[in-house]
Symmetry: C2
Subunit: 473 residues, 2 copies
């Protein structure tokens, strides 16, 4: 059981626990390339599932996939001023091709707004060309100084949607529509109860009019921004000179959105659901939903294993059989590290009663079921596990959201309790900065549906907004 | 019908015809980034189909997907000497991260042998760790001076498999197994009759012991290397110090393969099957198998259109309805440019006889079918089109393969007839070079199953090999 012993306790040292789990579950390995990670088969299989499910949603909502260049000439990056200021400090620059110095250096895309705008300028001429609903799955590069697997990496696998619309209203709706597709996905597939809302001016994306984000709370109370959707107005479109002839025969500038999620979501799955035994995967995203462990190699055991496999195959449930020559105890521990939602133990004694044992990864509960009920039982068990994982995460998160109405309350909570603080704010960046400087807590997002009758938690003036504050990864 | 008029005739100027087709069919567009193309939705949808079909084959044969870094530190690229000499002249170098100069420059991967070896060194310790059967779908970069969409681009979307085996035999078998998976795919899905065989020493991949390639002949008789599979022996493994403890308790060096195909295959689909009206897509790879064109908007036409759509949906046949307000003639021409395998014309007059008209893209033949037979007719029609496209391409290719047994014959054919020349060769690189220098024809691949009883076509000495020569893209 050395696998389990090797995992640091998450209450003892959460950062070490995280690194132990990503490594021992076989999600990621380190490479000799500083700041770049290797995504191992098991980690990549999770990403493939994410990609498959989201890509289908994107297509159902009328989006088309394209592939833009991965390089951006410096002059093109410079077209939109706020944007270049936001990204230039963290891009990788290509200066030579073979042995020749390039006339103009190129950065490896940190995001592709300018590439899409450059293309849209070519292809958008008339209202008939709108909306343009494009998406791409690709790798982007941000030259981070310190990196952590999935959370902060120099190379990031992600998708980025970039759309253009005839009207402001349609573009705002698109940004919100995609935000809600992400929200549904994270709640129902990843079992992560995300808070969604608008970012403050200070925290919004470089060049956006409004940024919406999905904020997940990790086990340690720290926030992970699990995706964003931006409404750009027509700032980029103006900077790039994109215009279309509208139905009324006048030239207009279109309105733009972009939205993206990345492998960072895998980090959130680990840190929301994992425990001291390792990874815990929600059934709806697990590459392998059930691990079958035959105990011993007696004929009844082998026969029962075949029968169970056949049943799972019929129901299209992904499974794996661990028939290696490791000890059962080692196999159980390994199955727990890998976070397979259900373990099926097939042993001689159980079989004498016509039974096998199912072990839930989320609760570690053991359930004896008769052989002929394995398949039907599993299907409902996956639903139950999925629901329980979401409910548990939600309960835990809500217990770690605190309310602060005065600066004294805020300080008290910020110093003693990990989690989010729900509070009131006047809208002045100085107050937002004070919280950041004193407690390393950033505003997470605004809460739009609550009326404000209180005062700013920092300066005591009349509050304009309710919002969440929290430390972040 | 301006769309069709705008396409250069392929017999007049094949290069311009090609550029016209890729552009007007909406496969690719040019970007402001020199040497990098934009893959448009229709082109990317073809790539997604390629990826889906091949990825399933790879998984069925036990391969797992991973994601390696996209950057290679210069020192790592330098580990295997032949390999670095082959690739260093054509890589893009990253020298700065943000405003800081990097201590060691990094190239953007032109291929990932060294990255996989570096990783395999970490994870292969015992015979139990073998074989390792990894693949990745990614973008690679080669700093080409002159570029053409899909054929030669600075950025290439591809897959690269990299495997490690305990024995030489197993590794050779793997290289051949993947070669044959490619071959089946290209024949049965892309309807391209490829010639497969071993490359000569001169033409093999930098660092490989043996390279096998798939050689397709384009309409103009020029070869396109449509994929490769390499057996590396243990040269890389030795250079990287990869060793495993075998069953007999001795340390051994494993044997390696790599294999890849890229978006270049889309170029071959265009150049093998396309005609003066545009693209012609084999049904087995077409993102849209049938385009439905209602003629006019009378109620019987609209009703019939709905009925046909419902039928196709039931059979899971991908289709699109062109109900735009363009003229029928324009729609027909556009459908031909896009290469949809079948066009379904639904018109008032046909409907009076209870019929619609199917138009095959490959032969342009019109077939009247009764409304209730559309679906069943389509299914067999797709098979027929697929077969006809393959047979036509095969016949055409075989007509353009010539046999040369003397230098006079060789010169005569090389000067006057586009296509491949099947010939005999002593194995001396000087003879191979002479053909390359005088006729820009490279050896394509060896023919292994024919016995040699003749003399080298260049020097007249005893021949050791039979092989194909041909100009290439």
């Amino acid at each position: 059981m050395s696998l389990v012993k090797d995992i640091t306790s998450r209450d003892e040292n959460f950062a070490e626990w995280y690194t132990d789990v990503v490594k021992k579950a076989g999600l990621v390995d380190y490479s000799s390339v500083k700041g770049s990670m290797i995504i191992c088969p098991y980690g990549y299989a999770i990403w493939e599932n994410i990609e498959k499910i989201l890509d289908q949603k994107f297509k159902e909502t009328g989006h088309e996939n394209v592939q833009m260049p991965m390089f951006i000439p410096e002059s093109l990056l410079n077209v939109e001023k706020e944007h270049v200021q936001g990204f230039a400090p963290e891009v990788a620059w290509v200066t030579h091709g073979g042995s020749d110095k390039l006339e103009e250096r190129l950065c490896v895309r940190p995001t592709s707004e300018v590439l899409f705008c450059d293309y849209y300028k070519k292809i958008i001429k008339s209202y008939r060309d709108l909306p343009k609903l494009y998406n791409q799955w690709c790798t982007i590069v941000r030259w981070e100084k310190t990196t952590r697997p999935f959370l902060r990496s120099r190379e990031i696998l992600w998708q980025e949607g970039h759309t253009m619309h005839a009207t402001e209203e349609e573009a705002v709706n698109e940004a919100l529509r995609m935000l809600h597709i992400y929200e549904d996905f994270q709640r129902n597939v990843l079992a992560i109860p995300v808070i969604v809302g608008k970012k403050t001016e200070k925290e919004k994306f470089a060049g956006a009019v409004a940024s919406y984000s999905l904020e997940a709370m990790m086990y340690d109370g720290v926030a992970l921004q699990n995706g964003t959707s931006h409404y750009f107005g027509n700032g980029f479109a103006k900077a790039f000179g994109i215009q279309f002839l509208d139905k009324d025969n006048t030239l207009k500038t279109p309105y733009q959105t972009s939205w993206g999620v990345s492998t960072r979501m895998i980090g959130s799955i680990i840190m929301v659901h994992g425990d001291d035994r390792g990874l815990v995967l929600p059934p709806n995203i697990a590459p392998i939903k059930a691990i079958i462990i035959p105990i011993g190699d007696d004929e009844p055991v082998l026969n029962a294993t075949h029968l169970v496999c056949d049943e799972l195959k019929k129901l299209n449930i992904s499974y794996k059989v661990d028939d290696s020559n490791k000890t059962p105890g080692f196999k159980f521990a390994e199955a727990e590290v890998k976070g397979y939602p259900v373990r099926i133990e097939i042993g001689k004694r159980d079989l004498e009663n016509g039974e096998v044992t199912l072990v839930r990864r989320d609760t570690l509960e053991k359930i004896k079921v008769s052989m002929d009920e394995v398949a039907s039982c599993l299907t409902s068990l996956f639903d139950e596990i999925q629901k329980n994982m979401y409910d548990t995460a939600l309960k835990r998160r809500d217990q770690m959201i605190y309310e602060a109405n005065t600066w004294d309350e805020f300080q008290e909570i910020a110093k003693s309790k990990p989690g989010f603080i729900k509070s009131n704010w006047c809208g002045d960046e100085a107050c937002e900065n004070k919280i950041k400087d004193e407690f390393s807590m950033k505003s997470r997002c605004l809460i739009s549906d609550e009326e404000i009758h209180t005062n700013c938690v920092v300066c005591g003036k009349k509050a304009k907004y309710r919002l969440y504050f929290g430390k972040q990864y």
